[in-house]
Amino acid sequence: MAESWWINNSESETARVGIRNLFFHRLNRLHEDGGGQAIVFVALVLFVLICFFALTINVGHRITGKVEMQNAADAAVMSGAIWHARGLNLISIMNVGMTECFALIIMFKAFDTITKVTEITYPINTGIADGICASTGFCMWSTCLHSLSPLITIMTNVNSAMQDLIEPLKKLMKSLRAVELGVMWAAPGMAQYDASKIAALNGAQGLFDTLGEEVENLAFIEKIMDVIGNVTGMDDIYVLFLPVMDPLPVDKDASFKALCKPTWEGGSGYDNFLCWDSALDMKIWGLELQWLIRGFWALLSCNLPPPALLWDLTVYLHYKSLCTGQDQSGQVTFSTRNCKQCETCTRIKQRWRQYKVEVVSNDCRADEVPGGEEVDLHAERTERPLGQYCKEQPCEICIDHWREGQRYFKKVWRLEECICKQEMDVPAEDTSQYPAPLVLKDKWNEEVSYSAFTFKKVDDWLALGPFRQGGQYHSFQAHDNTTVAMALAEVYNPTDQDLFNQDWHAKLARCDLERLDVSLGGADLDEYLPEKLKKFLSGAVDEVLVH
């Protein structure tokens, strides 16, 4: 058994050696055989190249998605911010419309006062002139006054028509104010609507579709989406636009008196409220009516005091009466607007010797005025003796107006003697009847920013990136295969930052998480902001392309 085993063993050993030799022989042959090695090499290179090909497409695909989302975010945030700017522009024009209505009311009231003064003085002047004509034979004034009789009738009728227009103007002011309040809420709604629409047009995908489970876990976003959906009627939201549905940053509680209050009394005054300038210049009706009224006053100039001299002061007194709600009185002893009135008065002075010229308008030269001196009203105001300005007789009115009316009297004054004294009294007005325009909130700063996030799924063409974790595929991106982009836009006004300049614009701004304004309907939600959303937003900011 042992031998046989040996024999067998020997045989098997021989066989084993033979097999081994054969194996190594073949292995050697294989090793030496160069046939097919290029195929292996080519296959490997081909695989690597195909991988690179896929990589090129994947990277290109992802970057294209990213750029598309950045474009979508930029366009969305701009469209939203533009709606805010448009809202502010619309409110601005309504505000200007309100002040123009107010200016018209002031003008109509001033016209009423002047008409009454004229109606009182006309018969007195006519009597005096007729007496002079009868006693001295100087009948020019009397003739002039008698020729004015039809003009006085016209003036009375026009005045009556103007007074009928005051109530409708008040109603128009109130309706403009109501529209402003509507715009205050409608513009953010339109901003949300258009931002979402633009984002969708530019390829962004719906928030629910893209984020899926993440949105479900973020109850806060869901709540926001519900509100936006209810207001805009949109089923899905394609952009997260912040702040959400905030009313425009306007102060609707600003009081009428505070707006009217002059700057030297601590109010915003004429800077915001244009009615005073408007009423004086009658910008609203253009130059034609302005010259018509001035021509009308010129025709009435032989009725003393000439209405042209009363006009500016009367308008001013009515303005102050409406602003302060107190009785106002003043003297017509000056002319600020044109020199011809002064010349008229100077001629009258030469004729009657009872008028003194004190004030000459900006068109007069200093060397024409005996003892006249230039006073720069834009210079810093200092207390100086009155006599320094009015050499012979102090002119309280002009000094008062110099103190108060920097904006009103913009030009250089030169003083002369006073002329045409006339007391004017304007009773107090009930200002509660007038709605105040909307103004910007105090806390408004120059940079009001709006931000937008857009989302899109970008799948790899060849899934080389994802790795398996916990039974699910994950890619290396933070939000699976969701591409996020973020953009910020600012609303600004290069002309003047108030709601009387229709020059509001929007521009893209640098992205910054610190500047995100997360609020809903005006309520600041930063405190209630879930950590998860903060994490999500900060992750998005880290990841997004910024400009």
Partner: protein
Amino acid sequence: MKYLFTEGHDRHMLKYRKPNSKILKDTRGQSMVEFCVAVPVLVLLLWSIWYVSDLYVVKFKTLAAARYGTWLLSKNDGLRPEHVKPLIAKHFFDNDASRLTLTVPDAGEEDIFSDILDSESVGEAFVDLIMGVINKVMGSKSIYSLKVEYEMPLIFGAVDLTEFRDKPFQITSEHYVVGNTWNGCRTDVHDLMSLIGELIEQAFEELKDALGL
């Protein structure tokens, strides 16, 4: 089978078959031949990678061009795509406008308030009035859009493959934006007043028509 065991035969056969066998079994140069066969494929693949990256470069160019062109259009109502085309060709495509096509895709609706304004019921006359003012003041056209198409020639490196495909690749990008324009919409107050007057008249006429007066 016999000659296999016969030396003479065997030798004869070997002698006879040897030259043939040598050619077949000689592996010298085989790699080079195989490599020469594979190289065109590899080069084509390499070129296609190059070409695909070029496609993406052009894609980015069209994206930027669409964005630039749309913003130009949104700044000026009078501009048309043909006015913008030379600028886009100059800034993005080396002044080559021949492969470029610009169109204005439909943004869904031009007039944002068209749905509301189309209403005919009497009760909505006031809404019409207000929306008319808003449209007039803000500018009724809201969304501006531009589609940029670039014909990518089928040239892989040095090989022109145009014969194999009639149409070149069309690389297309669109952009949509809300007009950031206030010029032209800036309305003076007396314009607004006269506008409100006109609109009130219109609304009044519509009311009269609706009531059959």
